[in-house]
Structure formats: structure tokens, C-alpha cells
């Protein structure tokens, strides 16, 4: 187990911010190394420096003991350092195989591509990942999880000596994650150095050997063995204090009349006979595997897809929701999308515009006039209450960290004062502190009388937050589980509902 890649005294500043301050880290061969830290602690900057996207102000990066300075990820890759980024970096219309081999399609610009060889080679890497996909399949037909694995396959295919995985499991189901861990272990056995960035501490303890923790651009620890450390030790290092054990005050019993009630609801997307009721002050979880139709159900209720049967009742009155605008402005329904960057936020616009988008209509005066100050007055307190870290409300939201972005995408619905909030996968790519904060917030909202629907594939999250859990599969409701916070019982009950169909 020798040291492969070494970071020494690296500092990096941006205008007004010291992103990294004298940071050190050592990646060793045959070792899975966890890089931990809250959002904004400096993990992304460190990865960018390793791959040559950014250059350190001071300090150095050593590869095999000698200093290196890469000018692009390409140069880094040529020296055996590959990264799997959080963003989807695949060409949708190209085949899986072509994506994996994209930089090795041929020797010269005009060389003919040998697709047979490409697909053969790609198939090899897919097999290694236990992925049962034909390499000729276009990437656009894959599920999100499959795309993530293809990206890993692409990084592997570079025969990398160091593999940097930036939250690889964010969009994977537990089973898929387990498969990935198997592969990581196999790679470790082959001598690869692996850097594993994740917010899911359970995974870190499951797979990693050593750990580096960053906080506010400083090393809290530098490449120490994980063995001997407990979850609380790591959390304390990350957030600077002990993790608060969720001890939420019991909430008043929800009202008896449901705020939203679906009866025999069916949609153009294929939902059939959906019966669902959410009462004010209640948190209803919607659990299901990817493709169960949960987000789609939410969007159908919002009026984005056509309702083909059954009825929707809002506060006991049968309604027809024609559009999201209708859902928001007339029925007080809000939706926090799972796809923060694609559907939740307008990345090129400011924090103020993103948080205020839902209240513009309410705040606009005569002639539709709307002053920035008016909006700021309305959303400012919410932004502050949610502790969104931003230099100003005018900051472009694309520049904020994922956690802060997520807070804003929730803040806009709180500002709008919705009566029913549908929260879809709220903690994807969110650090522990923000995640706990969001959970508290959801409870707080429910206590205040908001009806909440929580969609998540994260079983612990579901059991932690929801009052009762409705199980969906194949665009139908499969059953309901009362949540008594007993993880084993509840999770088994949920899985039983899902597998009931498979048996039938």
C-alpha cells in the first residue's frame, strides 16, 4: 500500500473566499479513501485541483512522489487519474459503448470507427460492473442509475490508477449501491486508489479504509484510518459539533378532513385507480422503486399531465386542475422537484428571483408592477430562516452549493404559503447538516398545518420523517404502512407490499 497521489499544503482563494487553506491528503494504492465535509467545505475545489480544472495558489500535487501540474482533465486522465462527476457527462444519443470509449474512437480525425471493437471493449467494462446492458443501447434509454454506472465504467475503462468518485451513489438504489461497492472492492484488490466522496456515512463506513475531513477549507483530519472512528466522531469532525439526535416534539393530530383527496384517479401517463388522502398537518410518504410512478403522480396532480379519470378533491370540493399555475395559485399546492437543476431552479437567475417566483403574482401591484424590494421583503425572512448561505439575494443561484440551492427550492414554497407541499427526493446530494435541517423543516411545516407528501427512495429518511407510508408500484397504490419508526418492521412491511405484485 504505497502512496500514489499526494496533496501538500494546497491553498486556493476566490474573490472574497479562501476555499482551501493549507490542505493535505494522501491517496494510497489499494485503498478506498473517503473525502468528507459539508457542502462548501472545499471538496469540489480539491477535486478540481487534482484534475487540473483549477490550479492551486500555493502548495503542490505529487504523483508517484514527483510534482505534477495538469492543465486539463485530459492530461490527468493520461496519467491515470479519472473522475466521475456529479453531473451527467454522457452524450444522450450515443450508444453506451461509444460513450465509454468516447476519447478512443480512433487514432485520427478521419479514422474509421470500429464499432464492433468498441462495443466489445465496452461490454467488457459493463460485465465488470455486472451491468446487463447491450453496449449498443443509446444512453438516452437508460435509467439514471444505469447512466451513473456507465460513467463509472467509462472512468474504469481508462485503466486508471486513481479513481475519483464524486457522490456516485446519489441516484442509486441500495441494491445498485451494493453492486457498486462490490466493484470498488474488486478494484481495490487490483491496486487502484479510490477517492470516495459521499454524504451517506453508512456507505463510507461500509466501504472506506481511510478518511480526510475538510471543514471550511481546512483539514480536520488528513488521511487517517477509518477503523476505530465512530459515526459520531466523523460527524463531529464534519460539522464541528455532535450530531443532533432527532427528538422532534410530537405533533398535534392532523385534521380529519383531507386537504387533498384522490379517488379512483387515473392519468394520461398510466396511473390507475389511485386513492390517496393527505390531511393538513400530516406527512404522507410515497415509497416505491424508481419507475413506480411517484413523481409522475405528483406532476399529474399538479395538472402537468392530463387526468383521465377519477376525481381530485381539495378541501372536500371536487376540482379540476388545469395547470401548475392553477394548482399553485388556486389550490395552494407546491412541488419541490427531485431534479433541482433541471426542474427546480433557474440556475442563471438570482437567489431572489428563484425564491420569489411563486409569490410574484401575489405581490404584484396594479399594472403588474413588482419591486425587487417588495419581493426581498417577502422572501428574505424565509431565506434567513432557512439559513441559506449566500453573499446576497442578488447572487446567481448556480454559484451556490447544492444544499443551499435545495434550501432555496424549498423556501420558495414556504414563501408562497402553500397548503400542500409535495417534496420529491429532498436530500439528493445534500450534506448531513442540511438534510437534518430539511427534515426538521418538514416537520415544522406539518406542525404548522401544512399537508406534506414526501417522495423518497431513501428508506431511513422515509421512516424518519413520514407519518404513514403509501407504497406505489407500477403506477398503482400497493398498500399503506403506518410508521411507528421501527425500521425493521416498517421496511419489511413496505417491501412486502412491493413484492406482493411480483408474486401475483
Amino acid at each position: 500500500m504505497g502512496s500514489l497521489l499526494e496533496i501538500r499544503h494546497v491553498s486556493k482563494s476566490f474573490p472574497g473566499v479562501k476555499a482551501l487553506d493549507d490542505v493535505a491528503m494522501t491517496l494510497a494504492t489499494s485503498c478506498v479513501h473517503a473525502l468528507l465535509g459539508e457542502n462548501g467545505a472545499g471538496k469540489s475545489t480539491l477535486i478540481k485541483i487534482i484534475t487540473g480544472l483549477q490550479h492551486p495558489d500555493s502548495g503542490e500535487v505529487l504523483l508517484d512522489g514527483s510534482p505534477v501540474r495538469f492543465n486539463s482533465p485530459r492530461e490527468a486522465a493520461a496519467r491515470g487519474i479519472a473522475v466521475v462527476h456529479q453531473e451527467r457527462n454522457l452524450v444522450p444519443r450515443f450508444s453506451v459503448g461509444e460513450n465509454i470509449m468516447l476519447d478512443r474512437l480512433g487514432a485520427g480525425s478521419l479514422s474509421r470507427i470500429d464499432f464492433v471493437a468498441i462495443h466489445d471493449e465496452a461490454a467488457h467494462w459493463l460485465r465488470l460492473l455486472d451491468l446487463d446492458i447491450d453496449p449498443k443501447t443509446p444512453v438516452s434509454r437508460l435509467s439514471v442509475a444505469q447512466m451513473q454506472l456507465v460513467e463509472i465504467g467509462k472512468a474504469l475503462s481508462l485503466k486508471s490508477r486513481a479513481l475519483l468518485l464524486d457522490e456516485p451513489t446519489a441516484s442509486l438504489t441500495p441494491a445498485e449501491s451494493d453492486a457498486l461497492f462490490g466493484i470498488i472492492r474488486k478494484l481495490r484488490a487490483d491496486g487502484v486508489a479510490i477517492l470516495f466522496v459521499s454524504h451517506k456515512l453508512e456507505e463510507v463506513f461500509q466501504i472506506c479504509d481511510t478518511v480526510t475531513v475538510l471543514r471550511d477549507g481546512h483539514n480536520v483530519c488528513d488521511s487517517v484510518p477509518l477503523a476505530g472512528l465512530g459515526r459520531q466522531d466523523v460527524v463531529t469532525m464534519m460539522i464541528g459539533r455532535a450530531e443532533r439526535i432527532s427528538s422532534r416534539a410530537p405533533r398535534p393530530k392532523p385534521a380529519t378532513t383531507p386537504y387533498l383527496e384522490l379517488r379512483g384517479f387515473s392519468s394520461a401517463l398510466g396511473h390507475r385507480e389511485i386513492d390517496l388522502a393527505v390531511r393538513p398537518g400530516e406527512i404522507v410518504g410515497l415509497y416505491g422503486l424508481v419507475g413506480a410512478g411517484r413523481s409522475e403522480l405528483a406532476k399529474s396532480v399538479l395538472g402537468l399531465y392530463r387526468q383521465t379519470g377519477g376525481e381530485i378533491k381539495i378541501a372536500n370540493t371536487s376540482v379540476h386542475i388545469r395547470s401548475v399555475a392553477d394548482a399553485l395559485h388556486h389550490h395552494g399546492i407546491g412541488y419541490v422537484s427531485e431534479d433541482r437543476k433541471g426542474e427546480g431552479l433557474i440556475l442563471m437567475h438570482s437567489v431572489l428571483d428563484n425564491a420569489g417566483i411563486t409569490v410574484w403574482r401575489r405581490l404584484a401591484g396594479r399594472l403588474g408592477l413588482l419591486r425587487g424590494r417588495t419581493v426581498a421583503r417577502a422572501v428574505g425572512p424565509v431565506i434567513e430562516r432557512l439559513e441559506v448561505k449566500t453573499p446576497s439575494l442578488q447572487q446567481t443561484i448556480g454559484n451556490l452549493s447544492g444544499g443551499n440551492q435545495q434550501k432555496v427550492s424549498v423556501a420558495k414554497w414556504i414563501a408562497a404559503g402553500v397548503k400542500l407541499l409535495i417534496v420529491d427526493e429532498p436530500s439528493v446530494g445534500i450534506d448531513i447538516k442540511t438534510k437534518a435541517y430539511l427534515h426538521d423543516l418538514i416537520h415544522e411545516l406539518a406542525t404548522g398545518g401544512t399537508a406534506v407528501i414526501l417522495i423518497t427512495s431513501d428508506m431511513p429518511e422515509m421512516i424518519d420523517v413520514a407519518d404513514r407510508i403509501v407504497v406505489m408500484d407500477g403506477y398503482r397504490i400497493k398498500g399503506e404502512v403506518e410508521n411507528d419508526r421501527n425500521y425493521d418492521r416498517v421496511s419489511q412491511a413496505i417491501m412486502a407490499h412491493i413484492h406482493a405484485r411480483k408474486a401475483a
Binding site: F14, P15, G16, V17, A19, N39, G40, A41, G42, S44, T45, Q86, G217, K299, S323, V324, A325, A327, L328, H329, Y335, S337, G342, E343, G344, L345, I346, L347, M348, H349, D353, G356, I357, T358, W360, R361, L363, A364, L367, G368, L369, L370, G372, G380, I383, E384, E387, V388, K389, T390, P391, S392, Q395, N399, L400, S401, G402, Q405, K412, A416
Partner: protein, 345 residues
């Protein structure tokens, strides 16, 4: 882009003191500032080298040209914001102007009625574009390519290409009117519209919804913005502004002329795209600069005018114009890079 670039200095929503420097930097980095600097430099050079450049008549024609070209640019800008485009601006402009001729000359309507009717017609034609784009889901390029032919064709069919040159004297007088010495009244109209559009995009609900829908239609839709309706409104605004540009050209020409925008109205396409794009409006939508559009049109007009006055052999004027344009964007890019490098130390 979950970078830490902007990891905050303070826990809460920043204070003025720390923002001041970035604001200045942002101003210096802005596209508008770059254009303004280029315009000032070019104008200073022309004014010293070419005595005719600052003559009252030259200033008058310059301001008038800027007024009209900016209006054409604003018309296109209004739809670019939504992420679409409108090839039929010229056709709408010419058709509306001809309709104005019909209203004012043939029907004898007073201007107070003829002008609103004309603008309404422009908005209607734009609205048809928008509605078809939204309903069909086909890219606005193809829809407006077709409607360009149809609008222009109907206009030519109805008018048989005969101009209206018996317009009320007020129209022509307005086209020649000067304010503040030698500034064309047409530029004043344009400046007023610029002001109105700035208010629209900055200070109204609708404006913000337009920007949101243009930047990320999916996110806007899910946040309760009626994107379809917003896109139609953008097209209507384009139509109305194109009609206004047509009216301004009518005032300048003293007649409603079917050839004011060339065959199918295609003569307008270049100024229509050039001004907003130079001014920093994103072709993909969601970002807009009204002042930039004004400055973009000003830049092109000043350069063209200078080149013509310099008596560059006219067959080569176009080539020079192209080189100047290229030089301008390259200088702007260099300035951007240098400032950014300085700022990022």
C-alpha cells in the same frame, strides 16, 4: 456547478460594504460597459478625423437610424428572451405599416385610432406565431419561416404592392422632428420604449415570468408560471414592437411602403439579431439587456456611418464593417479576460 467559488463571507444575506467592489467589477465586466467604451472610442476618433460626423444633419440622421435599428432589435429581443426567434419581424413590420397606411389614408382614421390599431395588428400577428409555436411544439424558426411568407404574401396580395403616400402631414412631420437641437424624435420614441421594456423586465411580474420561462421553461412551469401563455405574450410583444418599428420607418419615409423591409421583410433580420446579440442578450433565452440592445444598434450605426464618411470604397465597406465587428467582439473578449484575471487574483 456546485462549486465553492462563492462560499459566503457572512452567514446571513450579505451587507453593502462587502458588495461594493464586486458591483463595480460587475459593471466593468458587463457587456454594456464594453460596448459603451467602444462606442465612445469610435465616436471620438470619427469626430476628430471626420468633420462632417458631428454636423447637426449627421447627428440627426445618426440618431434617427439608431432609433429605428434599436426598435427592430428590441422587437427580436422580446422573443429571443423566451428562447425562440421570429423570422417574420420584417413581414409583420411591413404588413402593419401598410395596414396603418390603409387606416390613416384610405379609411381616414385619426392617428389616435390608427396607431393603436396598427400596434394591435402587430400584436395579433405575433400572437398567431406564438400560439402556433406553443400549440404545435415545433421550433419557432420553422413556424415563423412559414408565417413570414404568409404575412408578407397576404400583404402584397391585398395591397398589390402599392404604397400609401397620402398620409397625414403629422406623420411625415414627426419623422423630421428634432428635439434638443438635432436629435430625432424617433430616437425619443425608442428611448421611451427602452424605458418601458426595462420596467417590464425588471419591475413587473410579467417580465420576471418571461425571463424565468425563457431560462428554464420546465422549472418555471413547475413553479406556477404559465409558460405557454408567457411565450405567446413574448411573440405578441415582438409583433407590436415590429409594428412600431414599421410605423417609425413610415414616419421617416413619409409613406407606407411595402418594400421598407425588403423582399419578405428579410432586410430587417440582420439589424434585428445584431443589436440584441451584441448587447448581451442570450440567444438561448432567459437573459436580456435592453440597454445593450440600444448600445448594440448604436455601435453598428456609428461604425457604418464613420465608414461611409471615410469614403472607404463602397464595394469594400461591407468587408470593413465585418472586420470592425470582429475586432469589436475580440477586443471586448480580451477586456473581459483581462478584467477577470485581475479580479480573480
Amino acid at each position: 456547478m456546485s462549486s465553492v467559488v462563492t462560499e459566503p463571507l457572512t452567514e446571513n444575506t450579505g451587507t453593502g460594504e462587502q458588495e461594493r467592489l464586486p458591483v463595480l467589477l460587475r459593471l466593468l465586466l458587463s457587456n454594456e460597459f464594453g460596448l459603451l467604451a467602444l462606442i465612445v472610442v469610435a465616436a471620438a476618433i470619427f469626430a476628430t478625423a471626420l468633420p462632417g460626423f458631428t454636423s447637426p444633419f449627421s447627428l440627426f440622421t445618426l440618431s434617427r437610424q439608431i432609433g429605428i435599428d434599436t426598435m427592430i432589435g428590441l422587437a427580436m429581443m422580446a422573443v429571443i428572451v423566451s428562447g425562440g426567434l421570429d423570422l417574420s419581424v420584417g413581414a409583420i413590420g411591413a404588413s402593419s405599416a401598410m395596414a396603418f397606411g390603409y387606416f390613416a389614408e384610405r379609411l381616414g382614421l385619426p392617428l389616435a385610432a390608427a396607431i393603436p390599431f396598427t400596434l394591435a395588428l402587430g400584436a395579433l400577428l405575433g400572437g398567431i406565431n406564438g400560439a402556433v409555436v406553443v400549440r404545435s411544439g415545433v421550433h419557432s424558426f420553422i413556424i415563423t419561416l412559414a408565417s413570414m411568407s404568409i404575412f408578407f404574401g397576404v400583404m402584397i396580395y391585398l395591397t398589390k404592392a402599392q404604397a400609401f403616400n397620402g398620409l397625414p402631414a403629422d406623420v411625415t412631420a414627426f419623422g423630421r422632428m428634432k428635439v434638443l437641437g438635432s436629435v430625432s424624435a424617433l430616437l425619443v420614441v425608442t428611448l421611451a420604449v427602452c424605458g418601458g421594456l426595462t420596467v417590464l423586465y425588471r419591475l413587473t411580474r410579467l417580465g420576471r415570468e418571461i425571463l424565468a420561462a425563457g431560462a428554464n421553461p420546465r422549472a418555471a412551469e413547475l413553479s406556477g408560471v404559465p409558460v405557454g401563455r408567457t411565450v405567446i405574450i413574448c411573440h405578441m410583444l415582438t409583433g407590436a414592437l415590429a409594428a412600431l418599428a414599421g410605423l417609425m420607418l413610415t414616419a421617416r419615409t413619409g409613406a407606407a411602403v411595402p418594400s421598407m423591409a425588403g423582399h419578405l421583410g428579410q432586410d430587417w433580420l440582420l439589424p434585428a439579431f445584431l443589436a440584441p446579440v451584441l448587447g448581451g442578450t442570450l440567444l438561448t433565452g432567459g437573459r436580456v439587456s435592453v440597454i445593450g440592445t440600444l448600445l448594440g444598434a448604436t455601435f453598428v450605426t456609428v461604425i457604418t456611418s464613420g465608414l461611409l464618411l471615410m469614403r472607404v470604397s463602397e464595394f469594400w465597406v461591407q468587408a470593413f464593417l465585418g472586420f470592425m465587428l470582429l475586432a469589436a467582439v475580440l477586443i471586448d473578449r480580451a477586456r473581459h479576460t483581462i478584467l477577470k484575471a485581475r479580479g480573480m487574483v
